[in-house]
């Protein structure tokens, strides 16, 4: 089980968070169907560092951008997109 360091709540169990997938930039409004198709459906599945979203649903509801290694589950950074 991952233990994720929420900047506001401290180190918490994975069970408090909802995984929201790879942290990708949303395409521009006029980027077209192919770009949105890739954004919604196409994933790299790397055996490497992976930047992903975790939403602290059972805590402060902060969305965290987490860098996790998919092989070792090591987490090397946790950042937020906006300050409260």
């Amino acid at each position: 089980m991952l233990r994720i360091s929420c900047p506001w709540c401290g180190e918490r169990d994975e069970a408090e968070f909802r995984y929201r997938g790879a942290s990708l930039a949303r395409p521009a409004a006029d980027a077209g169907i192919d770009a949105f198709n890739d954004y919604v459906y196409v994933r790299e599945n790397p055996r490497d560092w992976h930047t992903e979203w975790w939403l602290h649903v059972s805590g402060c509801r902060q969305l965290l951008r987490v860098e996790r290694h998919t092989l070792t589950h090591e987490i090397r950074s946790v950042t937020v997109t906006r300050q409260p």
Binding site: M1, R18, R26, G32, F36, V40, L63
Partner: protein, 979 residues
Amino acid sequence: MIGPRRVGAGLLVDSRRPVRFRFDGREVEGLAGDTVASALLANGIRLVGRSFKYHRPRGVVTAGPEEPCALVDVIGAASEPNRPATTLDIRAGLDVRSQNRWPSLRFDLQSSTRLISRFLPAGFYYKTFMRPGWAWERLFEPAIRRAAGLGRLRAEAGDPPAPAETVHDHADVLIVGAGVAGIAAALRLGSAGARVMLVEQDVTPGAGALLDPRWQSWRDAACSALARLTRVRFLARTCVVGAYGHGVFAALETLSHDERRRFGGLAQRLRVIRAQRVLFATGASERLIACPGNDTPGVMLAGAALAYLRRYGVVAGSRPALFVNSDEAYAPAFELAAAGIGAVAIVDVRAESLAADRARAAGLPVHAGAVIERIEGGRGVRRIHIAKRGGSARDTVDADCVLLSGGHSPAASLPLQLGAEPEWHAPLAAFVPRLEASIGRVAGAARGTSGLASAARDGAATAAGIAADLGIELPASAAMPELPADAEATPLEAFWEVRGRGKSFVDLQNDVTADDVRLAQREGYEHAEHMKRYTTHGMATDQGRIGGLVGSAVLAAARGVDVAEVGMTRPRPYVQPVPFAALAGVEVGAHFKPKRRLPLDEWHAAAGATFVNAGLWLRPLVYSPHSGWEPVLEEARRVRRAVGLTDVSSLGKIDVQGRDAARFLDFIYANRFSTLAVGRAGYGIMLREDGMLLDDGTTSRLGPEHFLVTTTSANSVAVLEHLEFQLQANCADFDVRLTDVTDQWAQFAIAGPHSRPVLAAGVRGIDLSNGAFPFMAAGTGSIAGRTARIFRISFSGELAYELAVPAVYARDAWEALLTAGRPFGMAPYGLDALNTLRIEKGHVTAAELNGNTGAFDLGYVRLLKAEGDFVGRTLSMRPALRCEDRLQLVGVRPVDRTRRLRNGAHFVTAAARGASLGYITSSTPSTELEGWVGLGLLARGRERIGTRLVATSPIHGDDVEIEIVGPHFLDPENQRVRA
């Protein structure tokens, strides 16, 4: 002495306290401290079960949780299936039953499968029963199910599973295994002040130290030193069953009979342990040797025989033979000799060894450079056949038990779960886990040391590394008692199988033989993981701990490669079986899920409501104790003809504020809210980014920068999550704050032609006239002296309002409304009537917003704004989502108005009854039309309006001819809501 095979005092049993229990209905006497297995062995009972596939007679093979054969069902109160007899303590009145035998253990009819076993080869599931299809369901599967299977679960009324609880533990260091390595590490870390949890699956610490008399004083001294360290917690009977990374572990603690009594019947604790550092000192498991007849009752692992003698004073037989490949495995022969029982033969695969010399000096007959080529016996070992390796000399010796040892494999499941690499270690002929120190450390026999003293030294040395990680200073003086020296030993010789006639088992629990492994290889299942699945090798509850590597070695030989190349299958949680009751803990029955109660819960109950679970909410279904449609229709008709009141407090309510609130809602919703005037409400739909509908509801503008979003009750959590995600991921620079106010506001709908005068009588400070407060208006008034939000919105299709007050004032507002409504015959209505009303109006809920429907399917394309981006905009325009072949929302009515509709009934044509065109999502008897009306999702539905189809519900044996109509059954021009 209790029992003819008890030859001395055991460390764990109390010879003054006899205990009687029942095995297969027969009374057996053991001693306090005995396990079922040790008590049976003490009484000379060798046959304890039948095997899974062939129903072969089986005996006790091990002395611990790795036991593959001696599984029993505990019957009576707090029954449990599949308990290893080797870890189940006896108590007075315990009643256990052997498995896989019918009608009795000694005489088993199905053991005739031995005669047809050539029809049950590896992979037989995949081949024998391929054709014909019906035969599997009706013939083979029932027969196999009767023959196979382990214990039986009994879940009869009044027989609940033994209760369990969940405990959360925290430690600086978790040490798994209290053998000498674990104890040494705990002493070192504990005396430095670290908070240590030392966890042992056995009933007492010591492991290998319990088996060697020279280590008794060390163990006693170390245990009393540990007991003095207040920051060291020791837990016995606790098996760490899963390692989940980031320092999180699950452990199953099985309470002793005494503790059970003390804790009111509590049987297990599931411990969730969070530790900064972990040390795996899990020791090693002894391996069997595959040879013909190696499953005969009386065949036991050598270490197990030593354990029964040292722990319980019990011997497996009076004429033991050994079949070994290492010096360590001679230990039981020496201990048995000391107890007056001389081995009849020690068969060592090695030509020479120090242990063989010592045995000969002690007068024990050693057959060096030899193997046992066959073990003879039916319900118990009678004779062994010895053959010289590479020669023709044969010998036959009468024996009543065979002690096998093919060496030891590190017990590495937990480090492997954490991603350790298994590395071949030739001196042991075993895989040793290599784990990054940052993830965890492994010490002692678990990482391949030999001998107790080197394990203890390794434990202490590894503890020093952990202390350094934690920044803990270790005391200069060693806290450890002096270690007895390890004996010098000749290296073992890797040895796996004696090939010959008869079955040689590599997996005793799943009845997998060496020949099965070779068959799998011939049929192309060459990878260890494929062979495992094809043969079921290692897939039983013992997880192949004693024969797993032997199976890999047989596969390697068949492939002509080294066993190091074949490897082992990857272990996953759990290390040993965990009862579901232990996972559930106290979250059973009423505590399975939380209940959400409406603010007026007590009022509804007092008014005679029948409640229904809607998500977590308990909502009034109908205000009547009677089932059936009559009370529902009475409530719904009152709304259509006069006025009704219902509690919609469970609606999700999200307060959205900020300078960019309107801009944010334009991004979230498919329709536009930035143009909504203050004091107005609007219906909105939101899509997922893939273009499908997520939810719908009304949103009101309470101020220029203040909106109130309502969601369906079912989706309130998902919608809030969606909004937070979109705001923080894609609108990070927006000035918007989201607050869930679902629980803060009670909300009631007043619906029906008389709703305006009722509301006008109940509230102050608001002009409700049609001109001043038109359809979709939102405003503020007061009721019972409290400020209320008032919305003119309608879910029923009638003239209707919703009124919201802070939840603490719910009762005042509700009763004020009831008083105001009394002259108009107003009464409350429940969820069923609400549903009837919305179906007639063609409003959708979760049944239609099912995650597979898009705006086009439900006829909402006109709501999609033409300009500006929003979540789901681009993909909702995919041609596939605009295809007329998709399921579209329609209304349905039975042609014969006396027939009922059924939710889930499929639309078919009379000509093609097998091809579903869609299904009914919601249905109800109508308040105004004759008979039933329903909503459904139908392929090319809008085109089919005006045609007839059949709604078929095969599980009800029900076919109804229906006509397809538009989804709005009444007031399609929406006149009533504007009245």
